[in-house]
């Protein structure tokens, strides 16, 4: 278990939870990023601006990076661009069909004790495990 960072993980997770709670309390919305993203198009009046603002917030939140040296890392480079685009497409496609992602199903759905979300989370975790196993240990990518 290298690079295990339980404290920052719990703190970061709690912040995510706080965000989800605040969002539901004020707007009645689930803090599922894939859902927020997919709802951008077709654009509906009164249902577009809040999504853009939330996503911009994500990007602003990333700037916390510069204040905390302990979380600094060297971003991966030289990864296959094609694989990244395909990955993005499959994630977008899959989350649209399943109705959620790690935050939508994995956090909010599980917090609501939704059986659908429990299953969705197990399935995407398992397929994530399998994919990385194949990529790293079988095909040695």
């Amino acid at each position: 278990m290298e690079n295990f960072t339980p404290i920052s993980a719990l703190i970061g997770g709690a912040m995510i939870g706080l965000s989800a709670v605040l969002l539901l309390w004020v707007s009645g919305r689930i803090a599922g990023i894939s859902g927020i993203f997919h709802g951008l198009l077709p654009a509906r009046s009164n249902d577009f601006l809040w999504r853009i603002i939330f996503l911009i917030g994500l990007i602003i939140g990333s700037q916390s990076y510069w204040f905390i040296p302990q979380i600094h890392f060297i971003p991966r480079h030289n990864y296959s661009i094609l694989l990244l685009v395909v990955s993005g497409f499959l994630v977008g496609f899959g989350t649209k069909i399943s109705g959620g992602c790690t935050s939508g199903h994995g956090v909010c759905g599980i917090a609501r004790m939704s059986p659908r979300s429990f299953l969705a989370t197990i399935v995407f975790l398992v397929f994530g495990f399998i994919t990385v196993y194949l990529l790293k240990h079988v095909w040695k990518f």
């Binding site: 278990m1 970061g12 912040m15 990333s62 694989l83 994630v91 399935v123 994530g128 399998i130 994919t131």
Partner: protein, 142 residues
């Protein structure tokens, strides 16, 4: 209205901070979590644990109210039953996730750090968004 959007912005910032502080924006860290037979890093589980705990407690209190503070209703999925879309969609999502170590939240957040990988990933996500938009137009489904 202004207050509403200000709070939405704060939620996004809080969420992005959480993802950044927990290092979820680092795709290699995610891949180390998904690499269960390798040097396994369980940190992501702890992120989810922290998030689910706080959300679970908060949701219990909030859902005692009939409606949210500033909008008319709660927007939950109306689906009650497990269907094939849930399973197949999650599988496809999981595969995509394993191919790069990115999922929607961390990728969009990582754009703010100028990480090129996230831009290419986001491009792929946008392609899927346009695809479904096109399908919706053809089906006149909105």
């Amino acid at each position: 209205m202004m207050l509403y959007y200000l709070i939405i912005l704060m939620c996004g910032i809080l969420f992005g901070c959480g993802l950044t502080i927990s290092n979820m924006v680092n795709a290699n860290k995610i891949l180390n979590f998904l690499d269960i037979t390798g040097n396994w890093d369980p940190s992501l589980l702890f992120v989810m644990l922290g998030a689910v705990l706080v959300t679970w407690i908060g949701y219990r209190y909030i859902l005692k109210s009939k409606q949210p503070l500033l909008t008319e209703k709660f927007y939950f999925s109306q689906k009650k039953f497990i269907d094939i879309n849930l399973i197949v969609g999650s599988a496809i999502f999981g595969i995509g996730w394993g191919l790069s170590g990115y999922c929607p939240g961390p990728a969009i957040t990582a754009l703010g750090l100028g990480i090129m990988d996230a831009f290419y990933f986001a491009a792929g996500m946008i392609i899927s968004l346009l695809l479904f938009y096109f399908i919706a137009i053809v089906k006149k489904d909105f």
